[in-house]
């Protein structure tokens, strides 16, 4: 079953700063402007269930596999549409909000792309 499915509606002006470090910061389109500025903004949809180790995140056509997840990441995603993906394949989340993922290629994200989590 799909945990989440949505589309990218905006790339914040400063989202590049994070992307350059292999970090994808998501916020929903209801987030305040200052947070959308640093984020990849998705159309906010309902979240069904928890992201766990092994969950697949399909972003802009690239397949990412969750390798570790911080203790507040699911809570932030459900409450705020906020997700922090770290493309570092870490086996232990460095920070409480991190969702670390393995990847074969860094997604090249443009407006209109989709994110599917399952």
């Amino acid at each position: 079953m799909s945990i989440y499915s949505s589309n990218i509606v905006k790339l914040g002006e400063q989202s590049e700063l994070f992307l350059a470090e292999g970090i994808v910061v998501f916020f929903g389109d209801n987030a305040p402007e200052e947070l959308q500025d640093v984020a990849v903004v998705h159309e906010l949809k309902p979240v069904n269930g928890d992201i766990v180790v092994g969950t697949t995140i399909e972003l802009s056509g690239e397949i990412l596999k969750v390798t570790s997840i911080g203790e507040v990441a699911n809570e932030n995603f459900k409450n705020l549409g906020h997700l922090v993906l770290k493309l570092d394949s870490a086996q232990e989340a460095a920070l409480p909000g991190d969702v670390s993922c393995s990847y074969s290629k860094i997604p090249d994200i443009v407006v209109g792309d989709t994110i599917n989590i399952y």
Binding site: L17, F18, A20, E21, I23, V25, F27, N30, A31, P32, E33, E34, L35, D37, V38, A39, G70, V72, A73, E75, N76, K78, N79, L80, H82, V84, A94, L95, P96, G97, D98
Partner: protein
């Protein structure tokens, strides 16, 4: 409306930064809460003790934007919000145990950020 009080906010046992003195005034009159699920008890306590107004910053932005924020209360997991509000010049209180990280880490100082904060870390200044 001029009898705002100050509070001191210290880092929790596993937190970082601070102590911050939150000192609202007629211009900086909002304790802005940017967490899930409305006003967090930490934001409510700071508002109650100072006489400032708790404001749900995720639903809307206060009039005056960052200039009107006496502080921001966040439940940041360590990467994004942790830097955004310090960068905007707003003293920032994180309820989670975080330390400066991410591309905005340069903006996060002991003078503008404190983490691991629960209601117990808020006292009269």
């Amino acid at each position: 409306m001029s009898d705002y009080k100050k509070v001191k906010v210290e880092a929790g046992p596993s937190g970082w930064g601070g102590p911050l003195e939150i000192s609202p005034n007629a211009e900086k009159k909002y304790i802005v809460c940017i967490t899930g699920g409305g006003i967090h008890p930490v934001a409510q306590k700071i508002a109650d003790m100072t006489g400032a107004e708790a404001f749900d910053g995720f639903k809307s932005s206060p009039e005056g934007s960052f200039k009107a924020m006496a502080c921001a209360v966040i439940d940041c997991g360590g990467t994004a919000r942790i830097g955004v509000y310090p960068m905007k010049g707003v003293p920032t209180v994180d309820i989670h145990d975080t330390t400066p990280a991410g591309p905005l880490a340069q903006f996060i100082k002991e003078e503008n950020f404190v983490s691991g904060v629960s209601e117990d870390q808020i006292t009269e200044a």
